[in-house]
C-alpha cells in the first residue's frame, strides 16, 4: 500500500518527476544529435551498400507514388475550388493558376509530401528497426562484424534524402494537374495554357529553397524513424511505441524545418 503524503511531499514528488522527465527529454535529444552526427561521419566513408540503398529507394520512392499522387491531386483540386470564389469576386480568375503554382511549389507540395512520408515511411522504419532490435537481429549483425548502423541507418536515410525531393516534385506536378481539372469545372482552360500561366508565376526564389528544404525533410524523416527503431526497448510493446514516436517526432521536425526555411527564404 502506498503511504499517504501531505501536500508538500506530493509537490516534491511531482517536481522530482517533472525534473526526471525533462532530464530524459534532454538525454534523448542529445542522443538524437549524436545519432545524426554519426550518420554524417558514416555517410562519407565508402564502401556503400548500393543494393540496400536501391531497394530502400524503391520502397520509399516508387511504393509511395500512389499515395502521394492521390493526396497531391486532391490538394490541387480543393485549393482551386476553395480559392475560386474569392478570386472571382476580384475578377482575378486568370491569376488562379499562378496562385496555385506558387502555394503548391513553395509550401503545400513539399510539406504534404514530407508529412505523408513521416506517416508511411517513418513509421515503417521505426517499426522495422524496432522489431529487429527486439528480436536481436541488430545484435546479430553486430556480432557478425557487420556495422548495423551503416547497413540499416545509412541506407534508409540516404534513400529518404534522395527520394523525398523527387516525390515532392512529383506531388507539385500532380497538384497542378488537380488544379487544372478543378479550373475546368467552372471555366474552360487548356492544359497548356494552365501550365504556361502557372509556371510563368514561379521564380527561382520559389523553387530553389523549396527543393533544398525537401532534402532536410528527407533527412529528418529517415534519421528519426531509424533512431526510434534503433533505440527501441526490449519487448513487443516498444515496437509500436517506436513507430508511433517516429511519426510524431519527425512530423514536428518537418514543421520546425519548414518554419526555419520560411524565415531564411524571407531574408533572401
Amino acid at each position: 500500500m502506498q503511504p499517504s503524503l501531505n501536500p508538500y511531499q506530493k509537490a516534491r514528488v511531482r517536481i522530482t518527476e517533472k525534473r526526471s522527465e525533462w532530464k530524459q527529454f534532454f538525454h534523448g535529444a542529445g542522443n538524437l544529435v549524436a545519432f545524426m552526427g554519426r550518420f554524417i561521419k558514416e555517410v562519407v566513408k565508402p564502401p556503400y551498400e548500393w543494393r540496400e540503398i536501391f531497394y530502400q529507394c524503391y520502397l520509399v520512392g516508387y511504393k509511395s507514388t500512389f499515395l502521394i499522387g492521390l493526396t497531391a491531386f486532391i490538394m490541387g483540386v480543393v485549393l482551386t475550388i476553395q480559392t475560386r470564389p474569392s478570386m472571382a469576386a476580384f475578377g482575378a480568375i486568370s491569376l488562379i493558376p499562378g496562385m496555385i503554382s506558387v502555394s503548391v511549389v513553395r509550401e503545400i507540395g513539399p510539406v504534404i509530401t514530407a508529412i505523408i512520408c513521416c506517416g508511411k515511411i517513418g513509421s515503417r522504419m521505426g517499426a522495422e528497426l524496432g522489431s529487429m532490435k527486439v528480436t536481436e537481429q541488430i545484435d546479430a549483425m553486430e556480432v557478425s562484424a557487420i556495422n548495423p548502423y551503416r547497413y540499416l541507418v545509412v541506407t534508409r536515410t540516404l534513400a529518404t534524402i534522395l527520394m523525398i525531393p523527387l516525390l515532392s516534385v512529383f506531388a507539385d506536378v500532380i497538384a497542378l494537374f488537380g488544379g487544372y481539372v478543378a479550373m475546368n469545372i467552372h471555366d474552360s482552360m487548356t492544359i497548356r495554357h494552365f501550365f504556361v500561366v502557372a509556371l510563368a508565376h514561379l521564380e527561382f526564389i520559389d523553387v530553389f529553397p523549396a527543393i533544398i528544404k525537401t532534402f532536410f525533410f528527407g533527412f529528418v524523416v529517415g534519421i528519426i524513424g531509424c533512431y526510434k527503431g534503433y533505440h527501441a526497448r526490449r519487448g513487443t510493446e516498444s515496437v509500436g511505441l517506436a513507430a508511433n514516436s517516429a511519426v510524431v517526432a519527425s512530423t514536428i521536425a518537418v514543421f520546425i524545418i519548414d518554419m526555419l526555411a520560411a524565415q531564411i527564404t524571407d531574408l533572401l
Binding site: 542522443n31 536481436e136 562484424a145 526497448r233
Partner: protein
C-alpha cells in the same frame, strides 16, 4: 569513430529501464508516467489459504535487498570454497600444450547499482565445450555478451585468441568477432531475407573476393550440415523453432568460426528437437574443431555437450567440474540442478 580509437560500447539509451530490469522490480513497482500515483488506490484483497495465512507475501525493498545480500554471501562462500580446492596457479596451457582460447579474470559488470557479474574467472581450452549453468539472472548471458562487445565489462581481463579484448580498437574487435560465432536464443534470423540470403549475408560482407558459385556451394554445404537444404528459399517466418535454430547455426558457421557462443540453444524446444540441436552442436564441434561456450538451463543438453561445466550464482562462479563430478556434489544448491 576513428579506426585507431579504442572501442567503447554505447551506453544504454534508457538507463532507468535497465536499472529497473536489473533490479528485478515488478511492473507494478515501476514508475507510472501517467502521474496518477498520488491518487488513492484501493488495496488489493490479500489472497489467503484455508487457515487465513497469506499465500502471497509482498516484500518490502529492504527485505528484497536483504534477501539478495544473503544469496550473494552464500554464493561468495561457495566461490571461496571453489578457489581453495582449485590449484593456486591458473593453467596457461591445456593438456596438448595449446594456450586457452579464452581466459577471463575478475570480470565485473554492473547496471547502475546492481552488480550482475562480480568477479568471474574462467578459461576455455581449444576444442573444449564449456557449459555455463545457472539460474535466471545469474549473469550468464551478460557474460557471453561481454565476450563479443555487446556489453562492455566494468573491470577485469578478457583474453580471447591471445588478445586483450578491452584494449582492442573497433576493427580489431571486428576481427575477433569474425572468428567468433554467436547463436542467439531466438536464432535472430533476418526476417526480411530468405534462408539463402541470411546465409549469404555474412559472406557478402566478409568474403568479397569469393565467387558467387563458391558462395552458393558453401551455403549448400552448411544447409546440408544442418539437414535443411530444402529450406533454402523459405522465409524465416515459415520455419519452426528448431529449424530456425539450425539455420541460425548454419549462418554462424558459414564464416568457419574458431569459437562458438551458444545462448540457450535448446530453450523453447521440445525434448526431441532439443536433443537434435545438442547432437548437431557436437557434430559441428567435431567437424570444424570448434571451441565453445554454451549457456543453458537444459540439463540433458549440458550432459550431452559439456566437456566441462561451470555453475554461476549471483554473478560468481561457484562450482566447476565435469557433469559426472557435479552430479555427485553434496551441495544442496548444485544438487537442485540435477534432480
Amino acid at each position: 569513430m576513428k579506426d585507431t580509437e579504442k572501442y567503447t560500447h554505447e551506453e544504454p539509451e534508457e538507463p532507468e529501464q535497465r536499472e529497473e530490469q536489473a533490479e528485478g522490480k515488478p511492473a507494478s513497482q515501476q514508475y507510472d508516467p501517467s502521474g496518477d500515483q498520488d491518487e488513492e488506490q484501493e488495496a488489493p484483497e490479500a489472497v489467503v489459504d484455508e487457515d487465513g495465512e497469506p499465500l502471497v507475501v509482498e516484500k518490502s525493498p529492504e527485505e528484497t535487498l536483504a534477501a539478495l545480500q544473503e544469496r550473494q554471501e552464500e554464493a561468495d562462500e561457495q566461490a571461496r570454497a571453489l578457489r581453495e580446492t582449485a590449484s593456486s596457479e591458473p593453467e596457461t596451457t591445456n593438456e596438448s600444450g595449446e594456450p586457452p582460447v579464452i581466459t577471463i579474470k575478475g570480470l565485473r559488470k554492473a547496471f547502475k547499482d546492481h552488480e550482475v557479474l562480480r568477479g568471474v574467472d574462467l578459461r576455455v581450452n581449444k576444442g573444449e565445450n564449456l557449459v555455463v549453468l545457472g539460474k535466471s539472472g545469474s549473469g550468464k548471458s551478460v557474460l557471453i555478451k561481454c565476450l563479443v562487445g555487446l556489453e562492455w565489462p566494468d573491470e577485469g581481463e578478457v583474453n580471447i585468441f591471445g588478445k586483450d579484448l578491452l584494449t582492442l580498437t573497433y576493427p580489431e574487435l571486428n576481427e575477433v568477432r569474425v572468428r567468433t560465432g554467436f547463436l542467439f536464443q531466438n536464432a535472430a534470423l533476418y526476417d526480411s531475407m530468405t534462408v539463402r540470403e541470411n546465409l549469404a549475408f555474412p559472406l557478402r560482407q566478409h568474403k568479397k573476393d569469393m565467387t558467387d558459385e563458391k558462395k552458393h556451394s558453401l551455403i549448400l554445404e552448411m544447409l546440408e550440415n544442418v539437414g535443411l537444404e530444402d529450406s533454402i528459399d523459405q522465409m524465416p517466418s515459415k520455419l519452426s523453432g528448431g529449424q530456425s535454430k539450425r539455420i541460425g547455426l548454419a549462418r554462424t558457421l558459414i564464416l568457419r568460426p574458431e569459437l562458438m557462443l551458444y545462448d540457450e540453444p535448446t530453450t523453447g524446444l521440445d525434448t526431441g528437437t532439443a536433443k537434435e540441436i545438442s547432437e548437431l552442436m557436437i557434430k559441428m564441434k567435431k567437424k570444424y574443431n570448434i571451441s565453445s561456450i554454451t549457456i543453458t538451463h537444459d540439463m540433458p543438453c549440458a550432459k550431452l555437450t559439456a566437456d566441462r561445466i561451470i555453475m554461476m550464482r549471483e554473478g560468481v562462479v561457484v562450482a566447476e567440474g565435469t557433469y559426472e563430478e557435479l552430479e555427485k556434489s553434496d551441495d544442496e544448491w548444485i544438487k537442485s540442478f540435477f534432480y
